[in-house]
């Protein structure tokens, strides 16, 4: 065991897999010599050589396209898109190619790639360093979408993603890289080292895809969250005094519907929380599934607390970001319904 923040845990996952499997290669903008703008690939080139971890031209479509070809050759590329906000030039390669190659070739070719990308707001990143585009990818058949919320999960989920034979979109909440941010921006953020989930095995282990985690048991309301919003939901539960059951989905596709339904059938109430904009966000899918699976147990409408339907603003960071006050209000409202 070692104490790691999320960046170190991700770095450890890549190093672990590069050691175990010579087919794992890591590349992207600034990930090689420099070790990544967030340091996630720090030291990998030095340890494994330039042929295992290298810099690429600034061309997201090129990075993912090359990774697909390399995957078809038999490698396991783990590529980085510097910010999720810059993933769109690769959208064609991800949606038209990576997601469909197995299906369209009737299984002749697979795309065992991982696309890592820092995502989410809360860092004054403005319009193009804050977005949460996960719903664009959950809507694409053939992609898995994974979002960790702790160092322990980050490493275990990334190892699962690298070993998975299908393309995995791995979104990393950059707000959580160095500490568990709960949305209380006026309070100093504590480092991961004081959080139990910063205890990370140095060796190989996996957190399975498609398994949610109940991070706080409760009886009154179920909160479905992922990424930074898991910590916001925990803070909201504490501050509001509502006995909420907080579920960290961890992977959106595949989705752990069983854990979700069990919880909502128990509490009878459900709040979905995400940073992404509301309309057609992943919360809409969750709300639809919950009302279908738990209709007769629901005692209140399924509510969504999300980013507003606007581009992510700079100066109005905390008016946009769904913090504990907004989530807490929704929790209390759910009890009144």
């Amino acid at each position: 065991m070692a104490t790691m923040n999320m960046i170190q845990a991700l770095n450890s996952a890549m190093a672990t897999m590069m050691t175990r499997d010579p087919k794992v290669v890591v590349f992207g903008e600034d990930v090689g010599y420099f070790g990544g703008v967030f340091r996630a690939t720090d030291g990998l080139q030095k340890k494994f050589g330039r042929h295992r971890c290298f810099d690429t031209p600034i061309a997201e479509g090129g990075i993912v396209g090359a990774a697909i070809g390399m995957g078809a050759y038999g490698m396991r590329p783990v590529v980085e898109i510097q910010f999720a906000d810059y993933i769109y030039p690769a959208f064609d390669q991800i949606t038209s190619e990576a997601a469909r190659i197995r299906y369209r070739s009737a299984g002749e070719f697979g795309v065992p790639i991982v696309v890592r990308s820092p995502y989410g707001g809360g860092i004054f990143g403005g319009q193009t360093h804050s977005q949460s585009p996960e719903a664009l990818f959950t809507h694409v058949v053939g992609l898995k979408v994974v979002i960790p919320s702790t160092p322990y999960d980050a490493k275990g989920l990334l190892i699962s993603a690298i070993e998975d034979d299908d393309p995995v979109m791995f979104f990393e909440p950059k707000r959580l890289y160095t500490g568990p941010f709960d949305g209380r921006h006026d309070v100093a953020v504590k480092p991961w080292s004081v959080h139990p989930a910063s205890e990370v095995p140095e060796d190989y282990y996996k957190v399975p895809l498609g398994k949610a985690s109940v991070v706080r048991e409760g009886d009154e309301v179920t909160v479905l969250a992922y990424g930074t919003m898991v910590h916001v939901a925990l803070a909201a539960a504490k501050e509001s005094g509502v006995d909420a059951e907080v579920i960290d989905l961890r992977s959106l596709i595949p989705l752990d519907m069983e854990t979700i339904a069990d919880s909502v059938n128990k509490t009878g109430r459900c709040i979905v929380v995400h940073e992404a904009t509301k309309t057609s966000g992943f919360g809409a899918e969750l709300a639809a599934l919950v009302q279908r699976e738990c209709f007769y147990q629901l005692e209140a409408p399924v509510e969504r607390v999300t980013g507003w339907d606007i581009p992510y603003p700079h100066a109005f960071e905390w008016q946009y970001f769904p913090g504990p006050a907004r989530v807490g209000a929704a929790l209390r409202q759910a009890l009144e319904a």
């Binding site: 479509g61 070809g69 390399m70 078809a72 038209s96 190659i101 299906y103 058949v141």
Partner: protein
């Protein structure tokens, strides 16, 4: 001096209305329907006239080759010049047979579409030398990332045409289980990557495959094909950049058949410089080749493949040819180009030219050619019968619809098992 040039410029800037209005150029082809075909703008090098550099020549000292046109066969069918390859009669005859088989296959499938037996088809008529000669110049273990008009690669590599027809008919023989439109073939066994409808995506994927081969210390190389129109896609730029940066062992082929559906190659930027010349800015060598000359295509491909195999990196090859038929069965070229343009194409027909060469060598005759054509036609006809016995499009002889829920992921998706039940399978 009363008027300094500087003051003049300021005056102009302040009063832009004095300038002539700006105009935007919209390129137009040399001839439209009803006009005589016009190829006066084509710059064709004489057969045998273009130099053949050593394999390890630096890209920067080969710029001229992007503007010339490598040709081997002269007007009488003789192989001339430094690019004339030393090919056995057996290899040439095999190439001729592949081209004939490809053309006959295309014609039969085109007719099948017209008879309503398949939903769609794309012919490669006039471009058969591209695939037949390039397949002959590559190793069968080299990986191909084709577009939708390189069916000849599969035929050259011995892929059963029965399976190709099964794919076109989406019947019970379809290896792709009815999931793809006709001609979007895939064969891992034949190192033929699954064809995508999205143009150009395969170009950068081929570079990635080649990078993987080089990273692994393998000896295999990759080759990819796009059309002249697709060079305008971003993936073309990605491919050339990555191929150059990492010196990837890949052949990047641009099949310039002059037309992208109804748009002539000038709309893709081909009027200002040949597509081969794009390579110069990326520091890649480029060869511009007569795409209807089997020997020239073979020689250029062989050169580029050997260059890649010796770790000298990628080559861009522009295969200069003409799309002799409609873009697809959904297209009518008489609405945008002269009806006789393909017949007037100055570089002729690839099959006729190889036939002429073989006859000139004393290895072939009109009679033998007619007999081969008959044999190939009979073969395709027989296979077509067998294929159609296994179903044609729309007659419900397909793989079970329940298979459409399989294979989205490697392991079954629980959502889809549910949806399959919902759908009644």
């Amino acid at each position: 001096m009363l008027h300094s040039p500087r003051l003049d410029r300021q005056a102009v800037a302040l009063k832009p209305a004095r300038n002539a209005p700006l105009t935007l150029r919209i390129p137009e082809p040399a001839a439209r329907p009803g006009e005589p075909a016009n190829f006066s703008q084509l710059r064709l090098s004489a057969p045998g006239a273009v130099r053949r550099p050593a394999l390890d020549t630096e890209a920067r000292s080969m710029h001229d080759l992007a503007y010339e046109l490598i040709r081997v066969l002269d007007d009488r069918g003789n192989a001339v010049g430094p690019w004339a390859p030393d090919l056995s009669t057996a290899t040439l005859l095999a190439g001729l047979r592949t081209m004939l088989l490809t053309r006959v296959f295309d014609e039969r499938m085109y007719r099948a579409q017209r008879q309503g037996k398949c939903s769609f088809y794309v012919r490669s008529t006039g471009e058969e030398a591209v695939t037949a000669a390039q397949a002959a110049a590559l190793e069968s273990s080299d990986m191909c990332f084709p577009s939708y008009r390189q069916q000849g690669l599969l035929i050259a590599r011995g892929y059963p045409i029965l399976k190709m027809m099964g794919q076109v008919y989406s019947n019970t023989l379809d290896p792709l289980l009815g999931r793809q439109m006709p001609v979007m073939y895939s064969s891992r066994e034949h190192n033929f990557f699954t064809v995508s409808g999205n143009l150009g995506t395969q170009f950068i994927q081929a570079v990635g495959w080649a990078m993987g081969s080089a990273l692994s210390g393998d000896t295999r190389i990759a080759a990819s094909w796009v059309g002249d129109g697709t060079t305008a896609e971003g993936d073309f730029h990605y491919a050339l950049t990555f191929a150059s940066v990492y010196r990837a062992p890949v052949l990047l082929n641009v099949v310039n058949n002059q037309w992208a559906i109804s748009s002539f190659q000038g709309i893709a930027g081909g009027d200002e410089a040949p597509f081969a010349a794009r390579a110069i800015g990326y520091g890649l060598p480029a060869l511009r080749v007569d795409g209807n000359d089997f020997l020239a295509v073979y020689a250029a491909t062989r050169w580029a493949a050997q260059r890649a195999r010796s770790n000298h990196g990628a080559t861009l090859i522009e295969l200069f040819t003409y799309r002799a038929e409609a873009h697809s069965t959904s297209d009518d070229p008489s609405r945008y180009r002269p009806a006789d343009e393909s017949a007037k194409w100055p570089l002729g027909d690839p099959i006729a030219r190889l036939k002429q060469h073989l006859i000139e060598r004393g290895d072939w005759s009109e009679q033998k050619h007619a007999a081969l054509l008959e044999e190939v036609t009979q073969e395709v006809r027989a296979v077509q019968k067998e294929a159609e016995a296994n179903g044609i499009h729309g007659n419900n002889k397909t793989h079970s619809p329940k298979t459409m829920f399989d294979g989205v992921f490697k392991d079954p998706d629980p959502r889809l098992l549910k949806q399959r039940q919902e759908a009644g399978y």
